[in-house]
């Protein structure tokens, strides 16, 4: 399975899905014009990786998004759901959730993710505000 790399643009994040290392990272800001179109390709690559011949046993997802708009939120929710299903099937899935220390919206969203997708291990990392 080939790795997936998409460079960041002013309104879409860097996507660095290293399937060969089982480390998937999203970095930057996410408010593309059409979030469904942007994320559906990423999610289908993720599914291909999860359903590949060598089923991954331990996966790390790093989320370093400083902002995502409402339609990206919906797509990220789908992406988390996909990984959580695999975790429920026995894979070891770790999410590293980075947020600014005073960002209450991101803190609450992280909390909701933990509640909704409890099969994954969730590590929150507060970064100092600039």
């Amino acid at each position: 399975m080939e790795n997936l790399y998409i460079s960041a643009t002013p309104s879409s994040p860097e996507v660095d899905f290293r399937f060969t290392e089982n480390v998937l990272s999203l970095r930057g800001e996410s408010y593309p014009e059409n979030a469904a179109a942007f994320y559906s390709g990423i999610i289908s690559s993720l599914n291909e990786y999860l359903d590949g011949e060598v089923r991954p046993q331990a996966i790390t997802l790093n989320v370093e998004l400083t902002y995502f708009n409402s339609s990206s939120t919906k797509m990220l929710f789908t992406l988390f759901g996909t990984l959580n299903d695999r975790a429920a099937d026995g894979a070891d899935v770790t999410v590293n959730w980075y947020r600014h220390e005073d960002d209450d919206t991101m803190r609450e969203f992280g909390q909701d993710l933990q509640d909704d997708f409890s099969a994954m291990k969730f590590h929150e990392h507060a970064i100092a505000d600039d």
Partner: protein, 188 residues
């Protein structure tokens, strides 16, 4: 027009903007690349005036939701109706300061028959508590997007969540038949 008159007229415009404490205003066509550029300007502007981190993020979030609503839903489109990428649609957005708070107002034409649907979505948000708004947001996140939405049906709920007062909205008749002007205001 001599240059003195031009200067006087422009000064008058700037003085009104200053008096109303307008920190950002744009009217024209909205596209994704224009929104990205404006988002940069808004980010720098609110940082420059020293807004707190959380306030800056809420202003930015509401600005993006408003601007993307114009790109997706304004009735004045340069691009074909059925297209859902690289759209260009007309509207305006303004950010200002009132008392201790920031406000954002956006305006765009809509088809008149959309007004009732918008009112039915917005009116209940005005009386909901923040906890009810968060619960409605979560419910919408877990369900399928409503018909006619080009996003997730979460945009207005996101603005209601980020605002410190109920969202305000208004409709005004337009000179064009079948078209109504839609105004939305969020106070942060």
């Amino acid at each position: 027009m001599n240059s003195n008159t031009m200067y006087a007229q422009y000064r008058e415009f700037c003085e009104i903007a200053c008096k109303r404490r307008v920190i950002f205003y744009y009217v024209g066509y909205f596209s994704q690349s224009i929104i990205s550029a404006m988002a940069d300007a808004v980010k720098m502007g609110v940082e420059h005036i020293g807004a707190a981190g959380q306030t800056r993020r809420r202003l930015f979030s509401s600005f993006v939701e408003m601007a993307q609503n114009i790109v997706h839903y304004s009735a004045d489109a340069l691009t074909p109706e059925d297209r859902n990428d690289r759209e260009m649609r007309h509207g305006s957005v303004c950010i200002g300061i009132h008392g201790e708070k920031y406000f954002l107002i956006c305006a765009n034409p809509i088809k008149t028959e959309m007004a009732e649907q918008l009112r039915a979505t917005l009116e209940p948000l005005r009386t909901m508590t923040i906890d009810e708004i968060k619960a409605a947001y979560k419910k919408m996140l877990q369900s399928d997007a409503p018909d006619g939405s080009k996003g997730a049906g979460l945009g207005l709920l996101t603005m209601a969540r980020d605002a410190s007062e109920p969202l305000e909205f208004d409709f005004a008749p337009s000179r064009e038949a079948g078209i109504t002007m839609f105004y939305l205001k969020a106070t942060i």
